[in-house]
Symmetry: C2
Subunit: 431 residues, 2 copies
């Protein structure tokens, strides 16, 4: 049984709404079964999905080739074509990812902080799945498997809406996932791939309050903003990573050089890459020319404030706009600041509350920076590029939340659960 509908026909919006509502109702029903499945059953499903993907490898590559051909016809940029492609190595990685998620601890059912009250009631919090999660993403078809695996292991049903350019690949991956889940005796509708490329489907999805508990958008700024604007359901979003490294007056010079260089150059395109370097005025003369030489040699373009340019004349002049910018490329803004308080103020004002670091040997300033910088990750003597679920020991991540509520920073299995109170009595009465 396939739930796909023809995306090329011009559907009445009520038909689309009915289709989406049906997806939601099936997800809700599957969620109540999945919430009570034990870890063994969920791990078995992950293994079965891997087997289905292995068995479907050639068909998957064929479907992906059709997606690629159509995308090329439509003139998709080569970076996007690259993301879209399913090579054997990428299919291997998808299957390996399933095994990784199976190896992670199951967070569901743990009871935290069970304490006895004066009247003898024992009260604690039990970790439970959220319910049904809607995930909206772009291009990369591997997200279909990664997201499905994390939701499944954390006991949540999910509805996945990938990019239209990957629709054939995603539909087939979704079929493998559902068959694998069924092989393990769990409801195949625990994971459903939206079977229409109609953009209006996203609008429906983010308003299905009755059947969806959380929306996770993964993609560019315009997708995230559209979802935030239209959603009637809680959204866990991942916005920009405009990350800073602040080199404090007390920083050990060689360490600061290594950290700043690594934070910028480990990978330009990740959200934890440093985008602005802040340098205390008292160490600027010793530090700035050296880091600048190393970065420029590496092909990084520097845009500095006036004091920075006085020390490194080859820098371009930074504009106000630069302090706000996530370059995601070989460009770096550089500013000389008067002490740690000025650095903190710059970060909280211009930053995106993602990840920010201080390099310092001064205890009180490290404590102050940790407390005062309002970001999802705050680091001392480490490069911002460490902001990543695997590096944090989460095993795998569904994304990095820049929201403040529920989950902040890299979101792993625990971030896909919530807690309910359990109250254990022996006939106590109130009043």
């Amino acid at each position: 049984m396939s739930h796909h509908i023809d995306s090329s026909s011009s559907q009445a919006s009520s038909e689309l709404a009915r289709y989406m509502q049906a997806l939601g109702a099936r997800a809700r029903a599957a969620a109540s079964v999945l919430a009570l499945a034990d870890s063994g059953q969920k791990n078995a499903a992950l293994a079965c999905i891997g087997e289905r993907l292995e068995a479907g490898r050639e068909a998957l590559k064929a479907a992906n080739r059709e997606d690629l051909a159509l995308a090329r016809e439509r003139g998709l940029a080569s970076a996007l074509l690259d993301r879209l492609e399913l090579t054997d190595a990428r299919i291997d990685a998808m299957i390996q990812g399933l095994a990784t998620v199976a190896s992670l601890d199951d967070p569901v059912g743990a009871i935290d902080g069970l304490k006895r009250r004066p009247n003898g009631l024992r009260i604690g919090k039990m970790r439970v799945p959220i319910g049904v999660i809607g995930i909206i993403y772009e291009s990369r078809p591997n997200v279909t498997v990664d997201a499905a695996a994390l939701c499944l292991k954390s006991g949540n049903a999910c509805i996945l809406r990938g990019g239209s350019e990957a629709s054939r690949s995603n539909a087939l991956i979704g079929e493998c996932v559902s068959l694998g889940i069924e092989d393990a005796g769990l409801p195949r509708e625990a994971v459903q791939v939206v079977g229409t490329s109609d953009r209006a489907a996203v609008g429906e999805l983010v308003r299905m309050r009755e059947s969806i508990d959380l929306i996770i958008p993964r993609g560019g700024r315009s997708l995230i903003e559209r979802v935030s604007e239209e959603a009637k359901i809680p959204v866990l979003k991942h916005l920009d990573g405009n990350c800073h490294v602040f080199v404090d007056a007390s920083a050990e010079l060689e360490r600061a050089l290594e950290i700043a260089f690594n934070a910028k150059t480990y990978r330009y395109g990740i959200c934890g890459a440093m985008e602005t370097l802040l340098v205390d005025v008292s160490i600027a003369e010793a530090f700035l020319p050296r880091i600048a030489e190393r970065l420029i040699d590496h092909g990084v373009e520097l845009r500095g404030c006036e004091r920075a340019r006085a020390l490194v004349p080859s820098m371009l002049a930074a504009s106000e706009e630069d302090w706000y910018t996530e370059y995601l490329g070989p460009t770096l803004a550089v500013r000389v600041v008067d002490g740690a308080e000025a650095a903190i103020e710059h970060i909280n004002h211009y930053g995106s509350h993602h990840t920010d670091a201080i390099v310092t040997e001064h205890l009180a300033r490290s404590e102050r920076f940790l407390a005062a910088v309002d970001s999802s990750s705050v680091m001392v003597n480490a490069p911002t590029c460490f902001a990543d679920g695997a590096e944090y020991g989460l095993g795998a991540e569904i994304g990095i939340s820049t929201d403040k509520l529920h989950a902040r920073g890299p979101v792993g299995l625990e971030g896909l659960t919530t807690q309910k109170y359990v109250v254990l009595g022996e006939g106590q009465l109130r009043g």
Copy 2:
């Protein structure tokens, strides 16, 4: 300096928007100071607020009398008039509440789960304030102090929007709160009372994404639904408490009688009051006539399913609508069910995911009920009326969340905070 504006003039909506934006900007500025204030300073502010309320006691009562007179003229129902009134005893309770909040542990700054990664990085989560919280409530002016105290202690700035019928009382309480905060050397704009009764102010408040991080509505269903519909900011809401007690086949009869009676009659008007009693068919004949007699003697009207009415013929017939209803009064729906699974199904289908209890002596069924009932509190052998922050040991609560994300069930100081990652390194590099 007072930020009140004249609510009787017909303002241009742009003027209202400017006024609200200014409140938001001041709150944001105050929040960054408050987030770093230590517990001693915050407790001092709570004490100073108490002194200001004590000093303003006569003025407060006079302002409240004006509110009451106007409300009577407008024909406000007597239950609402009662809620609105500020007696000496209620002012005492407000001041006592401040002392209670001062005595609670400050959650801010605690670091949980700091663990060393294989590369030596130490990674944990630091508890921090959320930022700026908007609270929208009705009638009771004491909420102004309670909410301000909880936000202050948890390091959050807040913007309070009370009911228009309490505007004079709330304005004066807000003035006492701001003066008390200032007395302790913290920014007076850490707590601001919206100085207009214009209903459009709520619409502005729930869209101020830049300056408010969380909206907490406290009030009736129509307020909550309006806020949920219009909000562009995360909302922590408290919806209905349609609570159940299920008397399992194995229940000890006397215990079940006491728990069911207490759950219904402790107080009819609280959200934890039992609204539907579910009874396993195998114990119904022994249990139902006895609990029915006791409840009917107490003045409770019973509405039952057919099997219940066969055992207690004086019961009215329950309609499908009754299973969904939160009576908040001396009415109880009664249904005979075929086992624990049927009870769980009924609760998850008709309930409001607030608080539900099982009375049982059977271990596996108690575990099953705890795992499968999808409510913010699930109880074993205890009456649902225990659902309350003070009873749970939270000291005080800002409300009971029926949302699944961030905080579920009674929300105390910890629910008004969030966590950020802290990463402590010694120059580790990635890759």
